[in-house]
């Protein structure tokens, strides 16, 4: 497909999804007692933007993690970031339950950052010869943090509370409650600037170093981006599994690994897919809600399985 046609199609699909998202919801825009303008400003638009930002952010974070650990079957959830964010949220809920949403979000983001930095410190000591080792370490590390979060929640009767952060959904999104996600919009251009370096990361430490890349610094910067994005998503809408795994894989299967060329498309696919899942979740049991994360897991897993079995079509590698 020619780039112009491709971007035109992508733009049209995105525009259609945004229109649908603004028009569809539990309340009626035109006939109800609720003021339509208020509804769009307070609920529909924030929700649409939150889905787009979360989707794009998770997809981009997925790319970085996959490049950093040179393993296509991992995603940000495997470096313990969501679990660390949950621990931070639990702590602030226990210590200052009345704190504002923004304070809670900030504490969780800080905790996620600390958690991810600890993982990176741990990663220093992991031999890099076997690329599966690092994700495995991350899996165990995330599991330990998750177990700690569960223990804290269990002893303080907050297990169901913890549950709301584990299922990503947008029903709670309103103006004033998702703005942390704009971090994604700030970080995405930075990622785009660093795309070539991140691509080099994907070649492995030795190759990257021999090409003149400051490997550790680039890795650190990349994982910091991942930590911030993942934390923002977890504290605002909850963890949405699979996005960081499925979307980069689909794009890479179709278009190869040139990040600078692929990043915008990856962000687009992540955003569109998550928004589409949220719209579906609003419609299936209208006027009730099904978490977008659940819908994405169902469709995403299906698409991913198909991808694993379909023959790759790499026109330009």
């Amino acid at each position: 497909m020619k780039p112009v046609t491709l971007w035109l199609a992508a733009g049209l699909i995105l525009a259609a999804l945004i229109c649908a998202s603004v028009l569809i919801g539990a309340a009626s825009l035109f006939s109800g007692d609720v003021d339509g303008g208020l509804l769009i400003a307070v609920s529909r638009l924030p929700r649409t933007l939150a889905a787009l930002l979360a989707g794009a952010g998770l997809a981009l974070a997925g790319v970085v993690v996959q490049m950093a650990v040179q393993n296509r079957l991992v995603e940000p959830g495997l470096v313990g970031t969501p679990e660390a964010a949950m621990l931070g949220l639990l702590a602030v809920t226990l210590i200052a339950p009345g704190a504002s949403m923004m304070v809670k979000m900030s504490v969780a983001a800080a905790a996620a950052l600390v958690g991810t930095l600890c993982f990176m410190a741990l990663a220093r000591h992991v031999p890099r010869r076997d690329p599966v080792l690092l994700p495995l370490v991350g899996l165990i590390y995330g599991g330990i943090l998750g177990a700690a979060a569960l223990w804290v929640a269990w002893t303080t009767d907050l297990v169901q509370y913890l549950g709301t952060w584990m299922s990503g959904e947008f029903s709670g999104v309103l103006a004033g409650r998702y703005e942390l996600l704009w971090i994604v919009a700030v970080l995405a251009p930075l990622l785009y600037l660093a795309a070539d370096r991140i691509t080099l990361l994907g070649l492995g430490e030795d190759a990257a170093r021999s090409l003149g890349l400051n490997y550790r610094q680039t890795l650190l910067a990349g994982l910091l981006l991942v930590a911030i994005i993942t934390a923002a998503v977890v504290v605002t809408v909850g963890a949405i599994p699979f996005v960081g795994l499925v979307v980069p894989n689909i794009i890479s299967r179709l278009r190869g690994d040139n990040l600078r060329r692929n990043l915008p498309l990856t962000a687009w696919l992540g955003a569109s897919a998550v928004l589409a899942c949220d719209i579906l979740g609003r419609l299936i049991r209208w006027p009730y809600e099904i978490p977008a994360g659940t819908i994405f897991a169902v469709f995403g897993a299906g698409v991913f399985l198909w991808l694993l079995n379909a023959a790759p079509r790499r026109a330009h590698a």
Partner: protein, 318 residues
């Protein structure tokens, strides 16, 4: 992390003939049941005979602890659990024996109880517990107030405190009548559970449905289907339904900060724009009591009192 999904504190109770048989069989085989004078009481699993006025009692259900302590029955062992504030004394003076879901069987056995009261969250343990001592399943489920009253009467019979039980039942009936009278012409209500920034709505056939059905408070959205855990809804949904009253249950408030977090979550123009929001008719219920000890006599009297007080404070709206 997936395993969290299994730990729901309110799984559907299962009443199987096997359960019932096992309980009865265990009762028949226990020497204590033969020696002591027995009394037949109504339980979730049907009528069973148990020794009257048992001396050592283990109670593994919060609603039962509520009702038994209201009757003045001394409880020897309770689950390890952060109780609602009004039950703190009862919990402090009893021995903890494991969690609601996983009782410490050894500790219970070494206590040598003459009766174990289980049900609700500990219902799945009724059968294994009945190998230790006579165990009654006092689950309160479908009809909270009706079953709560029946359990209280059963406890009265069991511990020979029928007078006190009848008195409390009378108090309960009067409270329900008072609430019904207060609800007359005050409009409809929506029950919302607030949990970490997200909300779900509960209908009249849910675990909180008795607030509608027994107290005569009409549903603002009658189509709400039977869902133990409520239906996840958006703030838009509440705005569209536009209830006259919103009854708020704060799931996070189990840790003691009543209402604070829930009111922050509900602080949005969409909620403020509803009739409930404009008339100051958003009622924050004391959730630990309602959520955790639902069906206990003190729990019911307290919640009904809260609702009645709020309703009485408002002028008739339509």
């Amino acid at each position: 992390m997936k395993s969290i999904g299994i730990v729901q504190p309110d799984s559907e109770p299962q009443e199987t003939p096997m359960n019932r048989l096992a309980t009865l069989a265990a009762l028949a085989l226990t020497p204590a049941a033969l020696a002591a004078q027995t009394v037949e009481i109504e339980t979730y699993a049907g009528p069973v005979s148990v020794p009257q006025a048992p001396e050592k009692v283990v109670v593994l259900d919060i609603a039962a602890i509520d009702s038994l302590s209201a009757l003045g029955v001394s409880i020897d062992a309770v689950p390890q659990f952060t109780p609602p504030a009004y039950l703190a004394d009862v919990f402090a003076s009893a021995q903890p024996v494991g969690s609601l879901f996983e009782p410490d069987f050894e500790a219970i056995a070494s206590l040598g109880p003459s009766l174990i009261v289980a049900g609700g969250r500990s219902q799945a343990q009724v059968e294994p517990l009945s190998q230790i001592a006579p165990t009654v399943d006092m689950t309160i489920w479908e009809d909270v107030v009706g079953q709560g009253r029946a359990r209280l009467e059963a406890y009265g019979k069991l511990f020979a405190r029928e007078g006190k039980a009848a008195e409390l039942v009378g108090e309960l009936d009067a409270a329900v009548e008072g609430a019904k009278a207060a609800a007359e012409g005050k409009g409809d209500a929506l029950i919302l559970l607030v949990n970490g920034g997200k909300i779900s709505a509960y209908g009249d056939d849910s675990r909180f449905g008795w607030l509608h059905s027994t107290l005569g408070l009409p549903e603002a959205y009658p189509d709400l289907t039977a869902e133990t855990h409520g239906e996840a809804v958006s703030f838009e949904f509440v705005a569209e339904v536009n209830p006259d009253w919103i009854l708020v249950i704060d799931r996070g408030a189990a840790i003691g900060q009543e209402g604070e977090a829930a009111s922050a979550v509900l602080d949005t123009p969409l909620i403020a724009g509803t009739t409930a929001g404009q008339n100051g008719q958003i009622v924050y219920l004391e959730s630990a009591r309602l959520y955790i000890a639902g069906g206990g006599i003190n729990s019911m009297l307290g919640t009904i009192g809260e609702v009645t007080e709020a309703l009485e404070g408002a002028a008739a709206s339509n």
